[in-house]
Symmetry: C2
Subunit: 123 residues, 2 copies
DNA sequence: GTTTTGTTATATGATAAATATAACATACTG
DNA sequence: CAGTATGTTATATTTATCATATAACAAAAC
């Protein structure tokens, strides 16, 4: 999988990297058991520091997207704690939906947008 | 409206403040034409610096949630550029939905969560 | 034994966030 | 008119975060 970074973005590099990998899992470019490049290899490929990749991996582990073994490396492994996932999703959605309500975006429009995005992911 | 801040949060103070105000508008605690406290008053009430409040107000103006007049102060005024709002919403939703897919949260569960949150807002 | 892995430690420069003082222009208040 | 309160701008300082750099460690693989 190709992992790119936008150096002009206002998003932190390790956050961009984390999101790219999550998007990769969602689109099934990355599957359970797949291994990611080592922190040093990926850092060199992208052209960033090893610790930045390490931080992205550490966050992904903490959030339940992969496991990190000393010699197998970074392996996609999904922790399906749905209660936790739903709780986190609720928190993230709340502000977004509040914005939508302010802008007079209807419930139907939101549902439609969700469907469009889900279709893009090949669901 | 009561505007509180969590000093232990990892979110920037001005972002927290911005989100609180957006939530206030969505729940109709704040309505079109209502005025917010002056930057100095609110800063003192919360216990933060004037410029932090000023930044939150400036962001809210830029995002189309209020206008800032020299003597009326900060007034709730919604810019209903729905195209822009939908575009921004799409971008914010994409990563969230990718996370949901990874966690095996179904399309129906997402729609249900949206409805729950919308109901909370009194829609 | 050498290599590769994630991991930790420490230091440094760069950028952003928050604070502190000060001043300005404008409109309301008395 | 003087005084007050408003957002706004400017400048400086401190603090926190991000990214980098170098180094070292422990454990499994070869």
């Amino acid at each position: 999988m190709l992992l790119e970074i936008d150096f002009n973005s206002d998003e932190a590099l390790y956050i961009q990297l984390r999101n790219r990998i999550i998007l990769g899992i969602a689109t099934e470019e990355l599957r359970e058991g797949d291994t990611l490049p080592s922190v040093r290899t990926l850092a060199e490929n992208i052209g960033i520091n090893m610790h930045t990749v390490n931080k992205a991996y550490a966050v992904l582990r903490e959030e339940g997207f992969l496991t990190l073994d000393r010699h197998r490396g970074a392996v996609i492994a999904l922790d399906l704690d749905k209660l936790r996932a739903l709780r986190e999703m609720d928190e993230m959605l709340r502000v977004i939906i509040a914005r939508a309500i302010c802008k007079r975006i209807s419930r139907e429009e939101i549902h439609r947008l969700i469907d469009e995005i889900m279709d893009d992911f090949g669901g």
